[in-house]
Symmetry: C2
Subunit: 140 residues, 2 copies
Amino acid sequence: MESMGLTPVAARIYIYLMLSEEHQATFEQMVDYFGVSKSAVSNALKMLESVKMVDAKTIGGQRKRYFSVNMKGMFSEEYLSTRIKAFYNLLDDIRTIRKADDDFSGELEDISGLYKMMLFEIPLILERWKRTIALKQQRK
Amino acid sequence: MESMGLTPVAARIYIYLMLSEEHQATFEQMVDYFGVSKSAVSNALKMLESVKMVDAKTIGGQRKRYFSVNMKGMFSEEYLSTRIKAFYNLLDDIRTIRKADDDFSGELEDISGLYKMMLFEIPLILERWKRTIALKQQRK
DNA sequence: TAATTGGTTCTCTTTTAAGAAAACCAAAAT
DNA sequence: ATTTTGGTTTTCTTAAAAGAGAACCAATTA
């Protein structure tokens, strides 16, 4: 998890939330469990929330928040589409800057094209995926 | 580029190689251009090569190597498949460890399922992508 | 054989990021 | 109105990563 840009404490929190029986925990629990400072936990959570990896809910109008892993947030059509567009826009910008119409610009264009295909295909796959999930729910 | 785990020098080299007219450069050129140490360039290149972002060729049997961005390496079926499998294997391992058969385990299973779909679908998309590229080449 | 080229590797310094500790703050409870 | 709870923000320390510089090494070339 650290290899995907998480700090050690953030990585531990993420894994902890995944593995814990109730798949959620309070701020205090994590401070106690890891024996680290409140600031470390606060900053780690802030970061994890900002990248949609974790989110927080309150239960019954209490101020205390329960943090949990937000698995599906990372796979929302919106999130993926935004990232795909950002990527091919970057490639297209590079081509514009380079000007040169050589083989490498051709490659950039190809990869850009691949991402444009992905932008179209991913929602279709997600659609089918959601249907299989719905089906699974029904069977229960 | 730094946000995807590159060191500053590695990021600069990658961008430099992309934007340069000939889309390639020698070790010496980069040391001169950035005014950094040989070790910095050496280590950055070693890293970029290890993640298939850059590769090196020699020209005409010379010892000197020309480094260039390896765009397509990151989009090879093999590379993507390996990463997709690694991801859903991780999810499946987490489910095994958790044991608990609750809603969160269900979510993990769903995401794992999505990646298994991806493993099947991505090669099809890449196949179609390659055909559109081949078509483009023909027209030239 | 000696010198040069094209790097690599090692050790050391500097820079940056992570985390601790304490102060702080707003909401809720007393 | 004061205290407690559930954090956040700020400042400082420590630890880790990036890079410098020199030594080194294997191919080439002279």
